[in-house]
């Protein structure tokens, strides 16, 4: 229970900070010359995208370690990370078209990064569906780990193949080999936003982790304490 409360606190603080970052982004950060106000969405879009992808990698890594160590905590973490990743991928898929309509003139384009995020979203939903379709906890954890690892391996393939197509998407302007080509105030706002999203990720994951732990306890009690062991 203490963990659940901690997760709620972290999330609460992160949401407050998010509001703060947005005040800064709207009021104190210069408006981009070409894109105008639409560019402001970038402070949500890009950090969410970074965490949507990172969450998948973390799911995959937790899955690899789960198959070796069979530690239920790793499985719980993978599930929590996948749930949060789904939400962040959803945020990217919603904010992307909102930005795309005024800038590209179309809500959706089969652009490399958009496609990649859509794939991530589908992988996450598949992962959560598989989890919900298996009732035995040990079996569920093993199956989910297998899918999680495959998902992690698939991501670079999609990455590579979507970049072979022409892209409309702005190229990375912060995370690139040369120095970021962003005015310092924008960069500062953006970095704050990344920090806030990191905190949000942690807060959400801690909450979901604590909840799935509680749910497992409940299942054990429901079975009359005859919980099934590792298969």
């Amino acid at each position: 229970m203490r963990m659940l409360r901690a997760g709620r606190w972290i999330t609460g603080v992160a949401l407050l900070l998010l509001a703060g970052v947005y005040v800064r982004a709207l009021m104190y950060t210069p408006i981009e010359r070409m894109q105008g106000a639409a560019q402001k969405i970038f402070y949500v879009h890009v950090p969410a995208a970074i965490w949507a992808e990172t969450a998948m990698i973390l799911v995959g890594l937790a899955s690899v370690f789960y198959l070796f160590l069979k530690d239920p905590r790793l499985d719980r973490f993978a599930a929590a990370s996948a749930e949060v990743g789904t939400v962040f991928a959803g945020v990217v898929l919603t904010t992307g078209p909102i930005w795309g309509k005024p800038i590209w003139g179309t809500w959706w384009s089969w652009d490399a990064r958009l496609t990649l995020t859509l794939f991530l979203f589908l992988l996450y939903v598949g992962y959560l569906l598989l989890r919900s379709a298996v009732s035995d906890p040990a079996e569920r954890a093993r199956f989910a780990a297998v899918l999680g690892i495959c998902g992690m391996v698939l991501v670079p393939f999609i990455h590579f193949s979507v970049y072979m197509f022409r892209t409309l998407h702005p190229m990375p302007i912060v995370l690139k080999p040369s120095t970021p080509s962003l005015p310092p105030t924008m960069l500062a706002t953006w970095l704050m936003s990344v920090g806030v999203f990191t905190l949000l990720y942690v807060g959400f994951v801690v909450q979901r982790y604590a909840l799935s732990y509680l749910r497992e306890q409940l299942e054990l009690v429901g079975d009359g304490g005859s919980g099934k062991g590792e298969g």
């Binding site: 598989l130 495959c150 698939l154």
Partner: protein, 228 residues
């Protein structure tokens, strides 16, 4: 375990599945019928005056093959559900890797047979010249099929024991089929339009890389999908 043993065991598992298939023939005939019907659906759903058949052919080919493969993949482990045959298979003194490879080979033969029926029919129905490009087209199809059957065989071992196995397998495996499908369709287009093989070599390399990675990964992960 020595290599000849692995080969022998793999073949034992694969031939067992193929014999079952050959004796009943229900699944293969259903799959072939399904391919024919999908091709018919495309015939009647397209506007022949709007798009030339040769432009549409790669899409039709790959959509048909994808759906046929998804349907066929359920079969491999469904066979083992009756009379707890899977437990018997797992108790046999053979490696888990041999079971996976055997199932993979049986699935490849099954899906390959369906493709052997589908491709000539595509050529017939849509009046596409396939014969001059038969060898490179076969290579593209083989590479793509290994890619999606390897992942599909692994996943079907898991989904077969869930409540909504057929639908869940399709939902899980399609995101994994789309990259090889995309490359294969990109390679098929130029091929059928008579472009030289050097134009599509990049796609072939991608397909080969995908096959190697996912067959290897599935071999490693398969033991985790069956009960120990």
């Amino acid at each position: 375990m020595r290599l000849p043993d692995v080969v022998r065991h793999t073949w034992a598992v694969a031939s067992k599945d193929l014999v079952i298939e050959f004796r009943s023939r229900t699944a293969i005939i259903s799959a072939a019928m399904f391919v024919i019907l999908v091709l018919l659906v495309f015939t009647f759903a397209r506007d022949p005056t709007a798009v030339a058949a040769v432009d549409l052919a790669p899409s039709i080919l790959w959509v048909t093959l994808t759906f046929a493969a998804v349907l066929a993949l359920n079969r491999a482990f469904q066979l083992e559900l009756e009379n707890q045959a899977l437990d018997g298979l797992l108790l046999a003194p053979i490696g888990r890797g041999s079971i996976y490879l055997g199932k993979l080979i049986a699935n490849l033969v099954f899906v390959g047979t369906v493709e052997l029926i589908g491709v000539p029919l595509l050529a017939l129905f849509f009046n596409v010249a396939v014969w001059p490009y038969a060898a490179p087209l076969a290579l593209v199809i083989v590479l793509a099929t290994i890619g999606f059957v390897s992942v599909g065989t692994l996943f079907s071992a898991m989904t077969v024991r869930t409540r909504v196995s057929e639908l869940l397998l399709a939902v899980l495996v399609l995101p994994f089929m789309i990259p090889p499908l995309m490359w294969a369709a990109r390679a098929t287009g130029p091929l059928l339009a008579g472009r030289p093989l050097s134009d599509i070599i990049g796609w072939l390399k991608m397909l080969a890389a995908y096959d190697i990675v996912f067959v290897g990964l599935a071999l490693l992960l398969f033991p985790a999908t069956v009960n120990e």
